[in-house]
Assembly symmetry: C2
Homo-oligomer: 202 residues x 2
């Protein structure tokens, strides 16, 4: 069966977002990355700026593993969720709404896990060697080598902690995806071709 | 650059060996799996039956993490290697000899690690969901479900321990490979097409 939905999880600096955009273009399907923020605001009623701020804080500081709150206390009253969890739930709603709407490609936000159980998802992980990622981040952000290295390490730690906190699983384990590709080895175009080929093959 | 050498690491029951054989056929390159045992005997002078026995014991019992032996003691004398390590070194020699000889595909035996540093290797990991693997092992070995499950768990533990013992790295982490594919999702033919496509693309 051809997948209707493609999710891309990616290491920072691996070019996974660019690869996702090109795959979506090649397949003529919708593309969601930052677009999910306003969608999440719409479906949840949460403030768009709040969700954006949570995302930016998460990227700037390592994601903080808050103790999981039980959503209902013993007497049936809902315990208040922290703002991170609210944003996660809102984005998850947006991801499910996007997937229901039509064929699309979704970058990040543990979409593979949010959509688990759907048979029409192709879940992809994109990664690359540290040297390749440093080079890309230096070019993209105009950072020096030490700065790029520091950012990569921080964002990766944050993404791994985010993924683990919400899914209980390890980030970057091949088994959690249908396909995992080294963009440093294959190149951006090589990854795009591989994913498009697989998506059209099924 | 097109890869000259393809290595395939695979979960037990994922069909990785069959995929490897078909990829080698499609590309018209040599295929090494059990063939490495006699090659290892030739290059090392070790007895072929001894190497085979070590492999079979490893598959039948979880690989035992023996303490790493220093190959030379303080006074410069070589400490004797245990038989597992001897077989590993002999197979590593055979893998390097095969890679030097010409384009080929090598299944298992941590070949990705043995050949690390060569720029002409494409390292692939093949895995699948447990249900798919149980079905394949039941068909292939005529085992019942409980038996197949037990074998899968034992062989996987053994492969993971073997990989970790000799490489110091975790088995099945996407980052250790250039491409990782879920054969349950893609199917044998889907995996073959994806690998051949990638190998011809570079």
């Amino acid at each position: 069966m051809k997948p209707r939905i493609i999710t891309i999880s990616r290491e920072y600096g691996s070019g996974g977002r660019e690869i996702g955009r090109k795959v979506a273009q090649a397949l003529g399907i919708d593309f969601y990355d930052k677009e999910l923020i306003s969608e999440a605001a719409k479906v949840s009623g949460l403030d768009e700026n709040l969700i954006r701020e949570v995302e930016e804080t998460r990227a700037a500081l390592p994601f903080f593993n808050l103790p999981t709150l039980s959503q209902t206390s013993g007497d049936g009253y809902a315990a208040p969720l922290n703002v991170q969890d609210q944003a996660y739930l809102a984005e998850s709603q947006a991801i499910r709404a996007a997937a229901d709407k039509g064929p699309c490609l979704i970058v990040g936000r543990a979409a593979d896990y949010v959509l688990a159980g759907r048979a029409d998802c192709l879940n992809v992980f994109v990664y690359a060697g540290l040297d390749v990622r440093i080079k890309r981040v230096m070019e993209r952000a105009g950072a020096d080598e030490a700065g790029a290295k520091k950012t990569i390490s921080r964002v990766d730690r944050s993404r791994a902690a985010y993924y683990h906190y919400y899914t209980g699983q390890e980030w970057g384990l091949a088994k959690n995806y249908h396909v995992a590709l080294d963009s440093g080895y294959l190149g951006t175009e090589g990854c795009v071709k591989a994913i498009v080929g697989i998506a059209q093959e099924e």
